[in-house]
């Protein structure tokens, strides 16, 4: 029960009153009584202080003084709302963005996987740089070779991705499934949360179909229902029993809903899969044997692979330049996200530096402006400590508010950045805010606060300086230079960000507006998959019936089936199929040409808007039993028949997949080049087959003059009438497919532009602040100049040109520094692109015009200086 100050005063007053009253009662004169009582009491303030000292420690008094100072600080900042808001928001953005991005970087790139002993888990990749294929995957015979010939890898796990038509859980639909052998989960070191995982019991042709649900699928689709164990799924032609649920883990190599054993996939049991050395569709993982280092394991794998290549020259062409690499699984999983996240981290860091220098600038200007006030306070008896404490309190309020706001911003920032990063790494789905980073950020802000409190010079103990004499601001050359250097640095850094963002936007625009050769807006593509490998007449009849019935729907201008939705199905058929043409013998050592094999129905080219350049289109008569025919792309005609007419010549596939027998096919037409693998068009060798000769295609294309999406429901109804369990999925116009493919690039451009925008804004505030400060410090000078005949216009121009000087130097420094940094970065990170001339010029133009805008306000103020007032102000 510590008494309040008021209680102490009351007590003293009570004392004196009693004492005085007593004296008066004894007959003393009231005034004399008062004096006597006071004399008897002693020195009142000293008594009060020693009474207080009983209850309150020294620290309490200091804290109370600080609270008082904070209150004063807040009041004085309230009068400079604009400055305070700028500083607080700037700091908050810096802290929040950095905490968010660092949280994501830590989770995605640095934290370990849940897999048991993950450091020994490696991902093995076969690539063919000669064919431009980064990941060729493996065939079953190749995997068998690795298993029998290596000793440094204790076990291999394999995983291939298959689309199943799943019936049994709700609507019939296509699910992406992993097909694995029994060793997969053991090698990956994963555990079930329910039931069991697949093991060697599930290997072999006679095992029962078994499937494991991935954790996310179980939670999202089954709401963690434990009774799914034992349920039977219909997967295409086969069935599988759900045996377990996988623990939460990074889904790699593919984010699938289920993982099933080999017997569920008829394709995996076929001769092509089992004995075809070039039939590659399986990803390979390995666990290093105890005591084996990554380098040793890698060396053995590479040696085995080299032996394999030399033993089977027919399966590994020389020009493909087959290579084998082995990387720790974690590096493999994080590699797509690494560059973009490090880029983001750098951008956030740059923004933070700009923010800090801006805050320093604003505070510096403010404190210089306050030197007069400080001098007055010192003259009135404030000690240096008290003055410093006032300054400290004020910058604590500023930076503290910034830190608090930054902490609040960090959580939504993390959500945004994580959903962005999830496009590059599934690990980003599990990102949570890293609170330790927040503390560091907040701590840095506090350190900055203390530092900033020591920026202003305190008046000398015996105040004789100009501060007391005039209320104006004296700008020393040193301060002025410091302000300008900071502003220039901000411009330079914002320029680097702007140019980078400009480069990304320019690339994106180029890709978005590039002509594709397709009529992208009017064509709707749908997946209507057939069971894998069903080439029967019945399946072909099914699609012909779809074509007939859809064509009758109102609003449909044309319908066709194909095997490949441009861009969306990119990469799903590997690097192309080798072929030969009549009359062209490849030179010795020259690689056989490879073409994309596409299967289309009659009318396909009209529907997607690809013009026929020569010959004829497919007709209903190009069917089984008739002459085998193909249509080739312009590039094939030009490259394979440089001297003559491609029409009516023959071509045949030489890939072992087609067997030993040569089936010559006559070229009946040539169509314009389109590139359905890349949104940026490159000449592509493509050979089209009529679907009645080659088999089922699985993609339906509908052309309409109206809204393409209005046709989705009617088309689905038509298909379901024919086959109730037939999935009809992923309806999208080709335009939207392209947009979806470009999404990561758009996001990159968007996020970096966001950073650049923030940087630009901060830098503009910085330039405007420095100029405004300069103008207010030179009010008297401007007044004098106006008085002796300068025109307001010339003053305006002189301030503007000052601003332009800062910007020009900043941009020059930005260009020099930016290229230097890019050069250094290029030696560490592959694939650094330098912006072209256009983005650089655009960035300079944006920065320049923004700077003019920012300088206009202070310049206008300079030109409007009131002569009399300016001269009288001192």
């Amino acid at each position: 029960m510590r008494p309040e100050q008021r209680d102490l005063d009351d007590e003293i007053r009570g004392h004196l009153a009693l004492s005085i009253q007593e004296r008066i009662e004894r007959g003393a004169d009231p005034e004399a009584a008062r004096l006597a009582a006071l004399r008897e009491f002693g020195y009142v303030p000293a008594a009060r202080e020693s009474m207080r000292a009983v209850w309150y420690s020294r620290w309490f008094d200091m804290a109370q003084a600080l609270v008082q100072d904070l209150r004063v600080g807040m009041r004085s900042l309230w009068r400079a709302k604009g400055l305070a808001a700028t500083v607080v928001v700037t700091l908050a953005l810096g802290i929040g963005a950095n905490a968010a991005i660092f949280s994501v970087v830590r989770t995605v790139l640095l934290s370990p996987l849940v897999n048991r002993d993950e450091a020994r888990l490696i991902y093995i990749r076969q690539s063919a740089p000669g064919l431009g294929t980064g990941n060729l995957t493996f065939s079953v015979p190749e995997i068998a070779d690795f298993k029998s010939r290596t000793t440094s890898i204790s076990a291999f796990g394999d995983f291939s991705t298959v689309d199943f038509t799943m019936v049994g859980f709700g609507e019939p639909r296509i699910v992406k499934a992993g097909v694995v052998s029994g060793s997969f989960f053991e090698v990956m070191g994963l555990r079930p949360v329910l039931g069991r995982l697949l093991d060697t019991r599930d290997d072999g042709l006679n095992a029962a179909g078994a499937a494991v649900l991935t954790n996310r699928f179980w939670i999202n689709s089954f709401n963690r229902d434990p009774s799914v164990i034992g349920k039977t799924l219909k997967l295409g032609a086969r069935t599988a029993t759900v045996v377990g649920v996988l623990e939460p883990s990074v889904p790699y190599p593919a984010d699938t809903e289920i993982i099933a054993n080999v017997v569920t996939s008829p394709h995996h049991l076929g001769a092509t899969m089992i004995s075809g050395r070039t039939h590659r569709m399986t990803e390979l993982f390995g666990r290093l044997a105890p005591g084996v280092t990554l380098a040793e394991g890698r060396a053995e794998l590479v040696a085995v692979h080299a032996a394999m290549v030399s033993e089977h020259p027919d399966s590994y062409s020389a020009t493909a330049g087959m290579q084998l690499t082995a990387t720790p699984l974690r590096d493999q999983i994080t590699s797509p996200a690494r560059t973009i996240l490090l880029l983001l981290l750098a951008a956030a860091g740059v923004v933070f530096i700009i923010a800090c220098s801006n805050v320093a600038n604003l505070i510096l200007a403010r404190s210089v402006r306050r030197e007069g006030e400080l001098a007055v306070r010192a003259a009135l008896g404030a000690s240096r400590g008290a003055l410093r404490r006032t300054l400290l309190a004020e910058s604590l309020v500023l930076c503290g508010a910034g830190a608090v706001l930054g902490v609040l911003l960090a959580r939504p920032f993390v959500a945004v950045v994580a959903s962005f990063a999830a496009r590059f790494s599934v690990r980003a789905l599990d990102v949570t805010l890293d609170t330790s980073v927040l503390w560091v950020g907040a701590g840095l802000a506090m350190a900055a606060a203390v530092l900033l409190a020591y920026v202003p010079r305190l008046p000398a103990q015996t105040p004789t300086g100009p501060g007391l004499v005039s209320a104006g601001v004296r700008l020393t050359p040193g301060t002025n230079r410091r302000l300008r250097v900071f502003a220039t640095m901000q411009i330079a850094l914002s320029f680097v960000l702007l140019a980078g963002a400009g480069m990304l936007v320019a690339t994106l625009l180029a890709r978005q507006t590039a002509s594709t050769g397709y009529d992208t807006r009017r064509v709707l593509a749908l997946d209507v998959p057939a069971p894998l490998g069903d080439y029967s007449a019945k399946a072909i009849g099914f699609y012909q019936e779809i074509l007939r019935r859809v064509a009758e729907l109102p609003g449909v201008d044309g319908v066709a089936v194909g095997s490949f939705v441009p861009w969306r199905d990119a990469g799903s058929f590997g690097p192309g199929v080798s072929f030969a043409v009549e009359g062209l013998v490849p030179a010795d050592g020259e690689e056989e040409p490879r073409a994309r094999l596409r299967i289309v129905s009659p009318g396909f080219f009209d529907v997607v808007g690809v013009p026929l350049l020569a010959g004829r289109a497919f007709t209903a008569d190009d069917r089984r039993g008739r002459e085998a025919v193909v249509i080739v792309s312009h590039s094939v005609a030009q490259r394979m028949f440089p001297n003559g007419e491609a029409l009516n010549r023959t071509m045949w596939w030489t890939d072992p997949y087609f067997g030993k027998a040569v089936v010559p096919r006559r070229i009946v037409g040539v169509v314009a080049d389109v590139d359905d693998e890349n949104v940026v068009r490159a000449p592509a060798l493509t050979v089209y087959h009529p679907f009645q000769q080659m088999g089922v295609a699985g993609r339906v294309f509908v052309r309409t003059a109206g809204n393409p999406y209005a046709l989705v429901a009617p088309v689905r109804r038509v298909v379901r009438e024919l086959a109730p369990n037939q999935p009809v999925e992923r309806p999208a116009t080709l335009e939207d497919v392209r947009a979806r493919v470009l999404t990561p690039e758009r996001l990159n451009a968007f996020v970096i532009s966001g950073f650049a925008g923030v940087a630009l804004l901060i830098a503009m505030v910085g330039v405007a602040g420095v100029l405004a400060f300069g103008v207010s410090a030179r009010t008297r000078e401007f007044g004098v100049r106006l008085a002796i005949g300068s025109t307001p216009r010339s003053l305006l121009m002189s301030v503007l040109s000052e601003g332009m000087a800062i910007v020009t130097i900043g941009i020059a420094a930005g260009i020099a520094g930016g290229y230097a940094c890019a050069g250094i970065a290029a030696s560490y990170v592959a694939g650094i692109e330098l912006p072209g001339v256009v983005p650089v010029l655009a960035a300079a133009a944006v920065l320049g015009s923004a700077a003019i805008l920012a300088s206009l306000m202070p310049a206008a103020r300079a030109s409007r200086v009131d002569v009399l007032q300016a001269l009288r102000s001192e």
Partner: protein, 117 residues
């Protein structure tokens, strides 16, 4: 002010003020001024404690838990803070009284050795 002090007055021995306050309060609750008056009158005006040092002393005793205080109204109808001995204060008083008798005895033996009488 110190110069105007009565020449006859005795300086209090270090550490005895607390004891005197506790002793005075043994008769019942009293306000600060009353305590000062009591000490003065009971010492035949020889001991005169400045209220300026009495008040902090009482706060010190209250903080140590030997006194408790409450606001009340004096006989002269003035608002005043009344102090009162706590149980711990009573125990402390008897301890100090013992120590004081020992001290007086010891000093007495030195000043008047048994043999000289």
């Amino acid at each position: 002010m110190a110069k105007q002090r009565d020449q006859q007055r005795l300086e209090l021995l270090q550490g005895t003020l607390d004891m005197l306050i506790l002793r005075t309060l043994q008769w019942g609750p009293q306000h600060g001024h009353g305590i000062g008056q009591a000490i003065r009158s009971q010492s035949d005006e020889l001991l005169k404690v400045e209220t300026g040092s009495l008040s902090p002393a009482m706060h010190r005793l209250e903080k140590r838990g030997w006194l408790k205080s409450e606001w009340g109204v004096s006989e002269a109808n003035q608002k005043a803070k009344y102090y009162q001995l706590t149980a711990a204060g009573k125990a402390q008083l008897s301890r100090e009284r013992d120590r004081w008798s020992q001290l007086v005895g010891a000093i007495g033996r030195i000043m008047n050795p048994a043999g000289t009488e």
